[in-house]
Assembly symmetry: C2
Homo-oligomer: 410 residues x 2
């Protein structure tokens, strides 16, 4: 059983790069959680002929077409009219919707202009989907063998109506016989992940499983979707195998995010961390403090770009700097210890490296990074040789630093 | 003259909501700068039949189809094979590309696995587009009346190849009689910008100019594209008008980025800045140090989440904290002065606020932020009342802080 779902979005603003069509990304993610991979997504402008052609071709291929946009009061909102044309039926006024729109304007204390009545016009025979998140109701209609669901493009309204009226129907159609998983890796490239997964993916017992990889730099995500009566058990068994393949490189799964996971692990232990960052320049602090509640686990971060700051503020011995250079394991260690002491924290985390584009030498090329963690049970270190531009090196260093902390907190 | 351009993206990961197809948004934006609105965008998965059908239908409608993804070494990278099937030609090895791929692996010191050879296979007759940004070259081929350009989906490679090999061709097709401008604002919302621009946009002498707004949070960009023989002069004259409308809210134009602009302004004056961040938690530091050469203008950043750190490290008077609270103008000022003193810097920048979701009170709701700058010519301050979630409040605060520094450096 395979449900073919397509997404169709309309709106000139989506085709000029001015507005990102976040609705479809959001919906794809929700559908994936149900084990459904959207088959195709199409984006067209507010043009009657383009829109009609797109509706026809989507409906010819799919079981379910979810459409967003073109439901507002203005002249370039064409969805209802185009669907009616495709179906060869007239538009009809839906009095309860008109009343709801009137009521909404009354509640806002604003006059309702005549063009808003347009939002109560639907193709004859369509099922109206009341919209308690905004003005324009959605509607659903059969177009050939496909069910076409049309929703307003305003994100809060689109998402609200999807959650209320669309996703439950999809789940019912699927009958619970779908499952999907995502496992998240750090320190393994996409092609290496593919290579190590190959025997599993090629095994006859996993035929029919849809495997995929996603590079979400610096992370790589491994995912799989399964249909069938034993989908859930099969997906869970695969997760055990995948985790065995990648070991410690697996830091999380599903919707987990590394910074939030580290903040939660620190909070669970009542521990706090202090940071001393050189090449990441505040990125580790910014990632951690992006998590609500981070104030419970972090109270100090020092961006120590200059050796002078490393020595004066963090107490890094100047002889260490002279003997090994600022980018070295001993200096990373001293930075971690200095941050821990200065912040009075459970853990101290030090990051020093060469992010480029300048500053590299033959012995220490751009991408050389040293991480160190100082903690109650001793220390941990990691030396990296990263590739890429300044942004990638900084980002990879910051995530590797968080990962070092994650492993210490297990 | 109207050039019909379509975008076709492929990749299962784009259809599961896990990866946002930022390439197409970026490209739409670039094309818009040339005065071209993309006609349709299609997203399909890594499925041979779907991909072939999509290539055929795009090529039947458009003059130019720009395709991204499916160019990698793995089995589910199908672009070359599908284009060859659509054209009814075989795949052929392109020896210079194979050599370039080999050379790339040699330079990285990694063994080249056999599947990488696949990236040197192209449909017979295609024009190969060398890729100096990564491994997989792109290619261009005529499909019916359309020119189909296929590029790798990795953003840096896609964008690099677009800039080098695609956009110049589009510009040439357009005959150079196009001009476009972007002016970048901070502290003005999109609808307020639209409102203030209205008289200019409605003026008869600017009929035919294509105006647009782009919310690139926390910035708003105002842009316009003009076609015709006097396009360049007209676009330049409009820039003068737009700058007059928005005054100091205009911080830059074109491809300028605020952090790089601030780093350059500091460097030009031989000045350095030291940071004391509370609610932004390292974000200001991360933005500045993301700019190559930032080490010349920043040597200290302190993330002072706890009052204890504000007092002990930055020397913020505990009586100030008790009297006004940590989120107050006097504390922001003391943080700025403390950072300046501790870092021995020309300027000190202090940020304190409530990013939420918790921590708000009726007097100081979530989104209350105080910024202060201490410098040789005295200080400057800014109080903000921001809306949105934690991420938006932090991001807006960080950019407003950089803007405060920008104005002081003029």
């Amino acid at each position: 059983m395979s449900l073919v779902v397509e997404i169709l979005s309309t709106g000139d603003e989506l085709l000029t790069g001015q507005v990102v069509d976040t609705n479809s990304t959001w919906l794809m993610d929700r559908l994936w959680d149900l084990g459904v991979m959207v088959r195709r997504k199409t984006l067209v402008g507010d043009d009657r002929a383009d829109l009609r052609a797109a509706i026809e071709s989507c409906a010819a291929r799919a079981d379910l077409v979810i459409m967003s946009g073109g439901m507002g009061p203005t002249e370039d909102d064409l969805t209802s009219a185009c669907v009616a044309e495709v179906l060869g039926v007239p538009l009809e006024l839906h009095p309860p919707s008109l009343e709801a729109i009137r009521e909404r304007f009354r509640a806002l204390g604003r006059p309702m202009t005549a063009n808003n009545e347009k939002q109560a016009l639907f193709p004859r025979g369509a099922e109206v989907l009341p919209n308690r998140f905004g003005t324009a109701p959605g509607f659903a209609a059969r177009v050939g063998r496909a069910l076409l669901v049309c929703l307003p493009g305003v994100p809060a309204e689109f998402r609200g109506l999807c959650d209320e009226a669309v996703l439950p129907r999809v789940a019912a159609l699927l009958d619970g016989r779908q499952a999907a998983r995502v496992v998240k890796l750090l320190g393994v490239g996409e092609s290496a992940a593919d290579h190590r997964m190959r025997p599993l993916m090629d095994a006859p017992e996993h035929r029919g499983v849809r495997f995929g990889f996603r590079a979400h730099f610096p992370e790589v995500h491994v995912k799989w979707a399964i249909a069938g009566p034993d989908a859930e058990a099969h997906a869970a068994a695969l997760e055990v195998e995948v985790r065995r393949i990648f070991g410690d490189a697996v830091w999380g799964a599903g919707k987990e995010e590394l910074p939030a996971l580290v903040v939660a692990a620190l909070a669970a232990r009542g521990a706090r961390v202090a940071l001393a960052e050189s090449c990441t320049g505040g990125l580790v602090a910014a990632l951690l403090t992006g998590v609500p509640g981070a104030s419970a686990v972090l109270d100090l971060g020092v961006v120590a770009y200059a050796d002078r700051v490393k020595a004066a503020l963090l107490g890094v011995d100047e002889r260490l700097l002279a003997a090994h250079g600022a980018v070295s394991a001993p200096v990373a260690r001293a930075m971690a210890e200095g941050a821990r002491r200065l912040g009075g924290a459970t853990f101290g985390l030090g990051v020093t490296g060469i992010a480029g584009p300048g500053g590299g030498t033959p012995e220490k090329p751009v991408g050389t990074v040293h991480l160190a963690l100082a903690g109650p049970g001793g220390g941990a270190e990691r030396a990296l040789q990263l590739r890429g531009d300044r942004e990638r090196i900084r980002r990879a260093s910051a995530f590797e630093a968080l990962d070092l902390l994650r492993l210490a907190l297990r």
